[in-house]
Amino acid sequence: MTSTTGTAVETTVEIATGTGWVTICPYDRLTPGRGVAALIEGEQVAVFRTRAGELYALGNRDPFSGAYVMSRGIVGRRGEVPIVTSPMYQQAFDLRTGECLDEATTPDGTPAALPTWRVRARS
């Protein structure tokens, strides 16, 4: 994952698939402090833009409810950590690493971490 600040008019947001970069949408389409969901080779990715202009991409699936809703959470900050909270049961996840700050594992015992993707803004 990288974070870049985009400024140019034609800037687009791209995500790395392993074989190359795919375009998600124009950078300006992202509301500062919110996310959108994207479909990358059959997988759901939540892409966020913070108020400072940084971009982050995490798995869209909330490990606690199983629902694909992470992109609809509220983006914020806990101390120094940029976070998104799940809209389902409000656990917070580190936008940089995908780690859950509130609970280490989900009720069924699996690690409560979201996968992360590399994301960039490109003119």
């Binding site: 998600i24 969901a37 479909l39 199983g66 509220i74 409000q90 979201l114």
Partner: protein, 836 residues
């Protein structure tokens, strides 16, 4: 009182003088008690509760207390005293704390049965016994004590008069302007006030008081008279023993409280201090007690512990009347200026006297003496904020926060400085006001400083990094939701960005909030500045429900809830809802809130579903927001044979009036057409029940995890008064409640509870009703349906896609099976965590 304080100081002293033996000789038949709160005896405080000295105290320190046997003579040569009963007691040091006696003007008839003074518990017992057979009572003297006595007489049901020699009440402490406002307040209590009036004679009929002749010759018929015309120091003993006394009384003492005999000290109201004054207040007496005790235990005079004078600050404890005067209340200092705020209608008068050099010299507060506790300690210091900020009412602008220096005396009764209270928190792990009381004695006298102590404790805890859970979250650690609401309102702030940049705790121009403050501020902005909640930056503040104007359900799909005001729906409307549900394959359910909910819509279906609903005349039901959810109703008078009013019409009106009103928590309401209460109005945040005369309004009820019945706020209201009262109630709640605080919790938390709310919304006790009315007026005028407004703007609609890079593709993970002929969500079993 002062004698007891002396004993405490003496017994607490370190090191304890060896071989110290203490004997207390008392005139009264009981141990020391709290004279300052004597008046509360009339309202049920018992003599035991007023007591300042318990058995344990006397026993622990081996103090020999002899009650009901006053000292008659002092033999200074032999160093003995002799009591009335004939006991002689020797002493090394004699401490006189004989207090004062009430002055009774020598008018003819002043000792007729039915005449009383106001000083001891026995005096009060006598007054009470006489009041039981009396109809009218007169108090001679309109000072602090006289007004307290008058308050007590009215409370006992007597027709009460106050006769005051001076042209105004409390002439010593307050000025003319304050006197006028105070007079009106006292008269409002039902007391008749005669100023500029002396007492010429007491009329004695058959050996009992029957009336009183005033100096202008008029006669007041009365059954009892209470003299409260001032006090005189009890210096008779000292005088007889040849000790120096002042010209107008009082045992002469130096700054160490020593009389001209080194073995005799005098403290309290019987002493004439070095500044030539006799203090009739408890705080200076306590200060003297400390100084005298120090004398005894520390041997040689300690120049840091002297008593050279005190100020005459006082506040009146009379129920319902706030009066305080402090420092140079009359503005006698040269070149001083006065800053005045006066609102005769509201009965508020505030004056600050400021010296030519900008120092606060004194002041008078009538009707609203809240600032007294903060201002008095600042007397003599430069004001930290412009003076007008300190006298303006809270509603007229932000109140200045005063930073008191550590040396400022916060509790004047016990002479406790701010620094001592702070030290209690930082060094003795005190975390609350009771702890401060135990540790420092501050706040255990008149109680006037308790609020300020609370503030200091909170500040100190916060400074020490101890969580007091006051602020909203780490980003707004200094403000509660109510305070943020006022900031947004007063400064006209229209964005989260500006609020967090100017008032947030996080640094930096790009500071971000969190899941706690963002929705809370989003709600405040929505209720104050209007505008669409999804526009611009506002969109980032909403939680997912508000963000998609629908309720998130467990498989990631949403519910659709059109408003059905009053539960009244046409067959045509029912058919439309049915058709939409059928066409989109939604699950339908009639809910407890008189709505038809449709479940199972995906994000990208929402706009097309709402397109059809809006076209059929439906509006958003706000089932997703912290807003008005529903106003339930029964069928009422129109159909029900018991109904006495049209509950359906009222429910519809209320629902339409308050639709979309953003609040700290969801709001529910109901209207029942008669007391049979079929709509369950008493379990709602505000509920209305019809009566034959009008409407009864209940507030503060709720269901949920801690169900609570609503309480009656007002009864038999006509239609317009009902609406106006609900308007104000809701706006007051929205302005002052905490985040996610329902009306029930709010009502139990706020000071004064339901009575306070009633006073504010029905009698405009805070003078803010015009403001509340205006806020609600603005809400009603600017309301627009959020869904209609969303559909009208392609930019807003664009967010309703499942995938930013594949707008037409529905979310494949949202799946359903069937149950009872409708859809049912498929929940997610196992997760495949994949990353790269």
């Amino acid at each position: 009182m002062v004698g007891q304080r002396f004993l405490e100081a003496l017994t607490e002293a370190e090191p304890r003088p060896p071989g110290l033996r203490i004997t207390v000789l008392a005139e009264e038949p009981r141990r020391a008690y709290d004279r300052v709160h004597l008046t509360s005896w009339f309202s049920g405080t018992t003599a035991e509760e007023l007591s300042l000295c318990d058995d344990a105290f006397a026993a622990e320190h081996g103090i020999d207390i002899r009650l009901g046997d006053p000292v008659e003579t002092i033999d200074r040569a032999a160093r003995t005293v002799t009591t009335r009963a004939g006991h002689t007691v020797g002493y090394d040091t004699l401490v006189l704390a004989t207090g004062s006696y009430p002055f009774v003007p020598p008018v003819p008839g002043h000792d007729t049965p039915g005449c009383f003074v106001y000083r001891t518990i026995e005096d009060l017992e006598a007054i009470k016994a006489a009041a039981e057979r009396a109809r009218v009572g007169v108090v001679v003297g309109g000072g602090l004590l006289g007004l307290e006595a008058a308050g007590a007489l009215t409370a006992m049901g007597l027709d009460t008069h106050v006769v005051e020699f001076a042209p105004r009440l409390m002439a010593l402490q307050i000025d003319d302007g304050g006197g006028r406002v105070l007079r009106r307040k006292i008269q409002d209590l039902g007391v008749t006030v005669h100023t500029d009036a002396g007492t010429r004679a007491i009329v004695d009929r058959a050996g009992r008081v029957a009336g009183m002749v005033l100096s202008d010759g008029t006669e007041l018929a009365t059954d009892l008279v209470v003299f409260s015309a001032g006090v005189r120091p009890r210096d008779r003993l000292a005088r007889a023993a040849g000790l120096a006394v002042g010209e107008r009384g009082g045992i002469v003492v130096d700054e160490y409280c020593r009389t001209d005999d080194p073995h005799v000290l005098a403290i309290g109201e019987c002493a004439l201090a070095v500044d030539g004054r006799v203090y009739g207040l408890v705080a200076p007496g306590y200060a003297m007690a400390e100084v005298a005790a120090r004398q005894l235990v520390a041997g040689p005079p300690d120049p840091d512990r002297t008593f050279t004078g005190a100020d005459l600050s006082t506040s009146l404890k009379l129920l319902g009347v706030d009066v305080a005067g402090f420092g140079d209340a009359h503005g006698v200092a040269e070149d001083c200026v006065e800053v005045l705020y006066s609102d005769p209608l509201a009965g508020v008068y505030k004056k600050l006297v400021i010296g030519a050099d900008g120092r606060l010299l004194g002041g008078v507060l009538v009707g609203d003496a809240e600032a007294y506790a903060q201002l008095r300690p600042l007397t003599g210091s430069p004001l930290p904020v412009p003076p007008e900020q300190l006298v303006l009412p809270a509603a007229a602008g932000p109140r200045g926060q005063l930073a008191l220096p550590d040396t400022a005396v916060v509790c004047s009764c016990h002479g406790v400085a701010k620094g001592t209270i702070r030290a209690a928190v930082t060094e003795h792990d005190v975390v609350d006001v009771p702890g401060v009381k135990r540790c420092t004695k501050a706040g255990t006298g008149c109680g006037g400083c308790v609020k300020l102590i609370g503030k200091i404790v909170t500040e100190e805890l916060a400074a020490a990094g101890i969580e007091t859970r006051r602020g909203l979250c780490e980003h707004f650690a200094r403000y509660t939701r109510a305070e943020l609401y006022e900031i947004v309102r007063v400064k006209g702030i229209g964005s989260f960005a500006r609020l967090i940049d100017e008032h947030g705790s996080a640094e930096g121009p790009d500071a971000d909030g969190c899941e706690v403050c963002k929705p809370a501020v989003g709600s405040i902005l929505a209720s104050l500045s209007g505008g669409h909640i999804l526009d611009g930056e506002q969109a980032a503040l909403q939680d997912t429900n508000d963000h998609f104007l629908a309720n998130l359900q467990r498989n990631g799909s949403y519910s659709v809830v059109p408003r059905i005001p009053g539960g009244e729906v046409t067959p045509e409307g029912l058919i439309t809802i049915g058709e939409i549900a059928r066409d989109f394959g939604l699950y339908t359910k009639i809910t407890g809130g008189q709505r038809i909910d449709m479940f199972g819509a995906t994000v990208d279906q929402l706009p097309s579903i709402w397109q059809r609903l809006v076209a059929a005349g439906f509006e958003s039901g706000h089932a997703y927001g912290k807003a008005l959810r529903t106003v339930k109703s029964c069928v009422g008078q129109t159909w029900c044979r018991y109904g006495v009013q049209d509950s359906v019409a009222l429910a519809i009106e209320l629902e339409l009036r308050y639709r979309g009103l953003r609040s700290p928590h969801k709001l529910k309401s109901a209207v029942s057409g008669c007391t049979r209460e079929c709509a369950e109005a008493q379990s709602k945040d505000f509920g209305v029940i019809a009566t034959a005369e009008g409407w009864n309004l209940y507030v503060g009820g709720n269901g949920g995890t801690t169900p609570r019945h609503a309480e009656l706020l007002a009864s038999d209201l006509d239609h317009d008064t009902l609406i106006r009262t609900i308007d104000r109630f809701l706006m007051l709640y929205i302005r002052t409640a905490d985040r996610l605080e329902r009306t029930a919790t709010w009502l139990t938390r706020i000071e004064g509870g339901l009575d306070h709310v009633r006073a504010v919304v029905m009698d405009d006790a805070l003078g803010i009703c015009a403001d509340l009315d205006e806020l609600m007026g603005r809400h009603v005028e600017t309301y627009e349906d959020e869904w209609a407004a969303t559909l009208a703007d392609p930019e807003r609609v664009r967010r309703f896609v499942s995938f930013a890079n594949a707008p037409g593709v529905p979310d494949p993970t949202v799946r359903f099976t069937a149950e009872r002929e409708q859809i049912k969500p498929v929940l997610f079993e196992r997760l495949e965590v994949r990353g790269r």
